[in-house]
């Protein structure tokens, strides 16, 4: 892998190369990641990417990172990860493999890096070619006035997958993720019943049918009435448990009466 074309005659090139590297450093923000930087560095070798010297490239990269460090330019972590990896690759390429060593060889790793660079470079070229094509709305045009003949109008509803995803995302990112709440106004909760009864029993010293605690809005409709009856009964039990009231029922299915134990019952 090591290079034979590295003569002393290349001293001038080496200087030019170093200058180029310095120019690169100033532009460190211009790179889209370490692979992009490696691709740019590889161009200075002025050879086909298939013939690139990965070893030399690794050295170029490490020089770059070293230089950046000496100039106190902070490099993003992935650049340093790449530097560490290239240093490892370099050692693999230079040193004979240790007996019993596992994992891919230095050559395999170098070949893959060269492949990655070639592939990235190829995609860049194709992207540029794509953007340079005769594009709709710039070079080619569609009909300016699509014709609309108004006749029988049928309505269809449409939505795109994008709409669907947006809708789902919207639901999922609502600020408050509220727990389940029954949004049915026909339900009279026990909390409501308790609230209502607490306000009323303070004034009663005699037995009262608990049905009389049911609010007006819940008397007529059978569903609402059932809900209110159940919650009022549960609330009454709650009050008894708290020692604030007494309950009595003369016989099965007869009205249930409640009596306050008075303010001293606390």
């Amino acid at each position: 892998m090591s290079d034979t074309e590295h003569n002393d005659d290349d001293a001038f090139d080496a200087v030019a190369e170093r200058r180029a590297a310095e120019a690169l450093i100033v532009d460190v923000d211009g790179f889209e990641g370490p692979l992009d930087l490696l691709l740019t560095l590889s161009r200075t070798q002025k050879v086909d990417l298939r013939k690139i010297s990965v070893l030399m490239l690794a050295e170029q990269y490490l020089t770059f990172v070293e230089k950046a460090r000496s100039l106190r330019i902070e490099l993003a972590a992935d650049y340093l990860v790449m530097a560490a990896w290239l240093a490892f690759l370099k050692s693999r390429l230079l040193l004979p493999p240790e007996p019993g060593e596992e994992g891919p060889s230095g050559e395999e790793l170098a070949a893959h890096l060269a492949f990655q660079l070639e592939r990235l470079s190829a995609m860049r070229e194709r992207a540029a070619q794509l953007m340079a094509r005769d594009r709709l709305g710039r070079d080619r045009f569609q009909r300016g006035v699509p014709e609309q003949v108004e006749t029988a109008r049928t309505v269809t509803y449409t939505a795109t997958l994008f709409d669907l995803m947006q809708a789902y995302s919207r639901i999922r990112t609502k600020d408050e993720f509220r727990p389940f709440v029954l949004d049915r106004d026909s339900i009279f909760t026990m909390e409501e019943a308790l609230e209502r009864m607490r306000g009323m029993i303070g004034f009663t010293g005699e037995w009262v049918d608990i049905i009389s605690f049911i609010p007006d809005g819940f008397r007529r409709d059978p569903g609402r009435r059932r809900s209110a009856t159940a919650s009022t009964f549960a609330a009454a039990l709650e009050l008894v448990k708290a020692g604030k009231a007494e309950l009595r029922q003369n016989e099965m299915f007869s009205p249930i009466h409640l009596k306050s134990r008075g303010p001293d019952g606390e």
């Binding site: 009909r143 049928t154 939505a159 669907l164 789902y168 639901i171 990112t173 993720f177 609402r224």
Partner: protein, 223 residues
């Protein structure tokens, strides 16, 4: 186009493009323009020395009896569908409307959580689902009734249909993008913590019993 010997640059400097070429230009301009064009407007866009009036005669002749004809509109010219072919445009007037927000949200929930009960949909959306919304989605054939849930009350469930998959270009419901992909595509707001979402999701599952119980309750009061 035809037998051009001259370069385009030279051409415009020395002499007008051949008439056939001018005709092509008119054709393209009139096709793409959003409003009728006058010969003056067309001349202004064409290379120096062109005569739209002359080319227009040729172009008009070329489209005589065709599916579209070159028609005079006020001072200008425009392509119009031949009068006898108007019947072909009638289907173009199918009016497409966007689904309401309630409908698209309900549909999304069914798609992602199917089989979904009405109570589950309401739980996730945080508001009750109107009958009309479900009816509309069923009518569009995007959802249908699934199996009843084997929970107290045996509530009906909704699932998406093959027509749904077809409309949204999915081969299976598994192809629906997941939360991670939604987030990566920038569709999920970042302020939502991934953890809290995950939590909510798994909570749903745990809450299933509770949910069903509540639905049960509501059935009881419907009596």
């Amino acid at each position: 186009m035809e037998n051009d010997v001259t370069q385009p640059g030279e051409e415009s400097l020395f002499k007008a493009p051949p008439l056939a070429e001018q005709e092509r230009m008119l054709e393209a301009m009139l096709f793409a323009s959003t409003e009728p064009l006058t010969t003056r407007e067309m001349a202004a866009r064409m290379p120096h020395g062109c005569d739209p009036a002359e080319a227009l005669v040729l172009l008009r002749k070329r489209f005589e009896g065709r599916g579209v004809v070159l028609t005079r509109v006020g001072d200008g010219w425009a392509f119009r569908t031949a009068a006898d072919l108007g019947f072909l445009m009638s289907r173009e007037t199918v009016e497409t409307r966007k689904l309401s927000r309630a409908a698209i949200e309900t549909l999304a929930i069914i798609a992602y959580h199917q089989p979904a009960t009405r109570a589950e949909i309401e739980e996730i959306r945080g508001v009750s689902v109107s009958r009309g919304t479900i009816d509309q989605l069923i009518e569009l054939e995007w959802i249908r009734f699934g199996r009843r849930k084997m929970t107290p009350g045996r509530p009906v469930t909704f699932v998406v249909t093959d027509q749904f998959l077809d409309h949204f270009g999915l081969e299976t419901p598994r192809d629906l993008p997941g939360i991670k992909e939604l987030r990566e595509a920038g569709l999920l707001e970042s302020r939502m913590q991934p953890g809290s979402f995950l939590g909510a999701q798994s909570e749903d599952d745990e809450d299933e019993d509770v949910l069903d119980l509540e639905e049960d309750q509501s059935d009881m009061f419907d009596g």
